[in-house]
Subunit: 358 residues, 2 copies
């Protein structure tokens, strides 16, 4: 598939990064792909590396304007600043850029797309750029989109249980190192004992991607500080949910909390709708959605947990309850792999949707 | 203090258990106590043990009707069934029973008390029994009580981050063993890899207090199954909050989730009030409350986390935000040691309040 053939040309920018690696796994795992050619692109530092994609060894190309010539769809899995500079260049060379960074998500001229929720939005892209949502927002979009179509979503109160890999490979390595530092010690009973154990193991508690110890702890912070004490992550959940679902006045309160889980974000969702909802009907809606796996039989210990669903593509939904004191509200718990559906998979699904639509 | 002297007689039933041990620490840590005598009581199996309380070595007495003779206040830190049988016996012998189990909390003839919220409720106790709330509910009561007095609480949406010690010493030991089993391995990337590591370390994943792996995971379940898919823990949060705050029609939705933290429960709280609220006024209210420590300067990385507050008596509150789309709502994050304020401390504070009131 990597040799020029019939079909559009796909480029992957950021092919050697953490999400880029998951992207290649996803492309390799597809039964078939619509692409006539696949180009791998990375910073000049990583150019020349060889990676195997669907059986063919591909040489990573250095990021430059010319590499986008002839490209139909260019997926960007790179930091915000790189996307901000290079996605418009790719678009100017004729590619449709599908960007997984935060650079364009709230740009009114850039659609923000989750294919099973608002696939049609990809058709209107005046800048030639389509954005992929933040991983925390994405984790609940398939479930909320399906419920919204039937009941009309009005309000959302969300608390997150976010994985370390949301902070990249650095976050994954840090959590593993912290768990090693606290293991075998009877910690967690006295204020500061975890912090001391990390320092004793040579882990700086100042210079960490999580601001505070994450092992044997939870950290109510993700992103950077915005007005009113809100974190950037919490505002993304609000603003991106509104844009994807097409509900500009959706009421949203989110509290984003990091937990000592390597990969897979979870969310406790309280969703208020315009009409009455039942657990039975919600179960039917979830069961009918191909990208959702319903795991909801607490009598048998059946509910989604991150360590049981990591590595998979679907959104896992469970603990569905009709809110006792809010007749039009549902409470539920959702888990989604933040590196797959939360990042690479959704970006790739947008790219395939573009290929299908021609 | 343990020899008969001037002052009322205090009994501690369950003196040799996990919460009982914390209770003795609390009694030993008080600057002064009002008691003329303290009696330690446990099951016949633990009777005869010697424990030091405020410098005096006390022999644990076997639970029997006669040990309550002459007792003014009897604190119960025992399982529900033991409380259900023995608190009425203590009351019949003339003691006021302060019970930390779930046996009497929703009994309309038993007050459910958090001293800084509803101390006056202890005066009306037709059964001679006063109940101490569930630890998850307790973690947010000081904060919500203070806000309710000024703004009038109407609705509550809560997601919990509950510690392993909520499941007792067995829960603490299990989490330590699980962390040891996963440490030093690159786990958390593939579904089931944590489960396999636990089994390889000889830890049954069927026979666990948490239903699912807790290390490198979060588990959206605590308690037992009730109607409509709700857990008993979630219904306690709803029903006990209503009773303590004296708001019978308070609207509550709670999702209770266990996290790999040894001790200290955290809660993400979305609270809707009857009148407009500001972060500034909420900060003033929290700062004026002796039992609350306000930790809320995210620009400096300042917010409460369990591992930084465990072992302390206060409730720690941070991440206070005016909800952007709900003009009368606040979002905040609260941490409280579930073995201290969440259990032993509040029970002891009720006992001292009784001693003060005579």
């Amino acid at each position: 598939m990597s040799a020029p053939g019939n079909g559009p040309v796909l480029a992957l920018v950021g092919a050697t990064g953490a999400v880029g690696g998951v992207m290649i796994d996803i492309i390799n795992g597809r039964e078939s792909v619509p692409w006539g050619e696949i180009r791998l692109i990375a910073s000049p530092r990583s150019a020349g590396k060889k990676l195997t994609v669907r059986g063919a060894e591909l040489t990573v190309l250095a990021l430059a304007p010319e590499v986008f010539d002839g490209v139909d769809v260019a997926m960007f899995d790179v930091p915000d600043a790189v996307s901000a500079e290079w996605a418009p260049i790719a678009a100017a060379r004729g590619a449709i850029a599908v960007d997984n960074s935060g650079a364009f998500r709230m740009d009114p001229e850039v659609p923000l797309v989750v294919p099973e929720v608002n696939a049609d939005a990809i058709a209107v892209r005046p800048k030639g750029i389509i954005a992929n949502p933040n991983c925390t927002t994405l984790s609940m979009m398939a479930a909320l989109g399906a419920l919204h179509r039937e009941f009309g979503l009005r309000e959302l109160v969300v608390a997150s249980y976010q994985a370390a890999s949301g902070a990249g490979q650095e976050g994954i390595d840090r959590l593993h190192a912290e768990i090693e530092a606290v293991a075998g010690k009877q910690l967690g009973a006295r204020a500061g004992d975890v912090r001391e154990a990390l320092e004793a193991a040579g882990l700086s508690v100042e210079d960490t991607p999580f601001t505070a110890p994450l092992a044997m702890n939870v950290v109510p912070w993700a992103g950077s500080l915005r007005d009113g004490g809100w974190s950037s992550e919490e505002l993304k959940v609000r603003n991106e949910s509104r844009k994807i679902l097409g509900i500009p006045d959706l009421k949203v309160s989110a509290t984003c909390v990091r937990v000592p889980v390597v990969t897979t974000h979870s969310l406790a969702v309280h969703a208020v709708f315009g009409s009455e909802v039942t657990v039975e009907r919600a179960h039917e809606i979830f069961a009918a959605q191909p990208s959702i796996v319903l795991v909801d039989d607490p009598a048998k210990g059946s509910f989604p947990t991150p360590s049981d669903v990591v590595g998979g593509d679907p959104t896992y939904v469970g603990r569905v309850r009709q809110a006792l004191d809010f007749p039009t509200a549902l409470d539920f718990f959702v888990c989604g792999d933040n590196l797959r559906k939360g990042a690479a998979l959704n970006t790739y699904e947008i790219a395939e949707e573009l290929a299908v639509r021609g």
